[in-house]
């Protein structure tokens, strides 16, 4: 690992100045759990690390009229244990509880994980079904990007040079909707999932009124599976309808073979776990 300078700006403006000054030679650092590994392996090279740790306010979790605002520097453990998250976005508390181990959850941050953009991470499918948005702040101003438009490819995102992800905005989970997250980890519990599924549904008098489904680890990015959603929305809930809808996943995913399984195996598991998630969220379990 080569030497680098470590900067710990006390404000976002100062962080932006450092990014502008050092350009490609600088990397932002949040919790550092992923970045440190990549730096040690020399897969990422940086002359300047710009830590966001000292910038006030970035770890805050608070409620506003447009939803739950989770600061990018909030630890995964903060989200898991936050009473606000448990009340207004219980799916998220449940998902963050399942990430890796408690040691990692105490160090890794919400924003750091999102910009890392590993498609096998747990939170993105949940953020997708909750229609979360990301606030990206640069020197020139700020913009909100739906999570749905943020992930572009393996480890690649819509974040532009000089932009900092400052918070995640999560619309409140409606009380009448049920949500579920399933992760398939045949090796060890703290492993990345072989495939994962988040689903959110609202059923009225036996008819599916709302359905959102997203998968992780099954394509270059986590992704919403609109074909499944459309197949069930407005339809009477039944085992047959769920089976038909889950089967549609096979054509929507493009998993890569790795030590967790072949592409064909993962595609099959994507169908199986989507079916289980749909059954769970529609009350057919």
């Amino acid at each position: 690992m080569r030497d680098f300078s470590y900067h710990a700006p006390a404000s976002l403006a100062e962080a932006h100045s450092l990014l502008a000054q050092y350009g490609d030679a600088a990397r932002l650092m949040a919790g550092g759990t992923a970045l440190t590994v990549m730096l040690k392996q020399s897969l990422v090279q940086a002359d300047h690390l710009v830590s966001l740790q000292r910038i006030p306010g970035l770890r805050r979790i608070h409620l506003q009229s447009d939803g739950l605002h989770i600061g990018a520097l909030a630890r995964l453990r903060d989200v898991e244990t936050s009473p606000l998250v448990k009340e207004h976005a219980p799916l998220l508390a449940e998902v963050y509880r399942q990430v890796a181990t408690v040691r990692i959850r105490n160090q890794a941050t919400v924003g750091g994980g999102i910009v890392h953009a590993d498609p096998a991470q747990d939170p993105p499918p949940a953020l997708l079904v909750l229609d979360a948005r990301l606030r990206l702040v640069s020197r020139a101003g700020q913009r909100e990007v739906p999570v749905r438009e943020f992930f572009l490819d393996y480890y690649e995102t819509a974040l532009r040079p000089g932009e900092v992800l400052t918070e995640v905005i999560v619309p409140l989970q409606t009380k009448h909707a049920r949500a579920i997250y399933l992760r398939y980890t045949p090796r060890t519990q703290d492993d990345y999932p072989t495939v994962s599924v988040a689903a959110l549904a609202r059923v009225e008098r036996g008819v599916c009124r709302e359905m959102r489904v997203a998968l992780g680890a099954a394509a270059p990015t986590a992704l919403r599976i609109t074909a499944v959603e459309e197949a069930l929305r407005g339809k009477r809930v039944s085992q047959a309808a769920v089976r038909r809808a889950a089967a549609l996943v096979a054509e929507q995913v493009s998993p890569l073979e790795d030590f967790r399984g072949s592409a064909d195996y993962k595609r099959d598991m994507a169908v199986v776990f989507t079916r289980r998630a749909l059954e769970g969220v529609l009350g057919l379990g």
Binding site: L43, Q45, A117, D153, Y154, L256, E257
Partner: protein
Amino acid sequence: MKFEHQFTVPAPRAALWAALQDFPRVASCIPGAEEVRPGEHGDYQGSLRVTIGPMGVTLTGSVTVAQEEAAGLWRMTAQAQDRKVGGGARAIIEAALVEVDSRQTALKITADVQLMGRLGELGQPLIKRKADAIFKEFGENLAKLVSS
């Protein structure tokens, strides 16, 4: 790890064959290829920068080129290393020129790539996906080069 890739170039077979003789110029069509120049033993030296999101490797090494004009076949043997990451790659790449019609030539590429050390740990499917993207862009750039 084996690859197959095929694309069509808007040039007659003989013209494409002639263009391929200038190896450094052809190499400039490979995204990430840098400083490709003749070596001392009839080979070519150079480097290839490959990035996946924030991660990047720079493979530095040599390529030996052999040709069979009658068969319209190019065979390249490459070996390269990234000393910082601690890994390397060996590749045998064959390119066959097949006439589509008097104005177009198909380039059929087959490659057998071996990754060593930490590069191999990145995951071959991910590397393969990246390599497919590189071949695709190479084909587009080569088409532009010969039609310009």
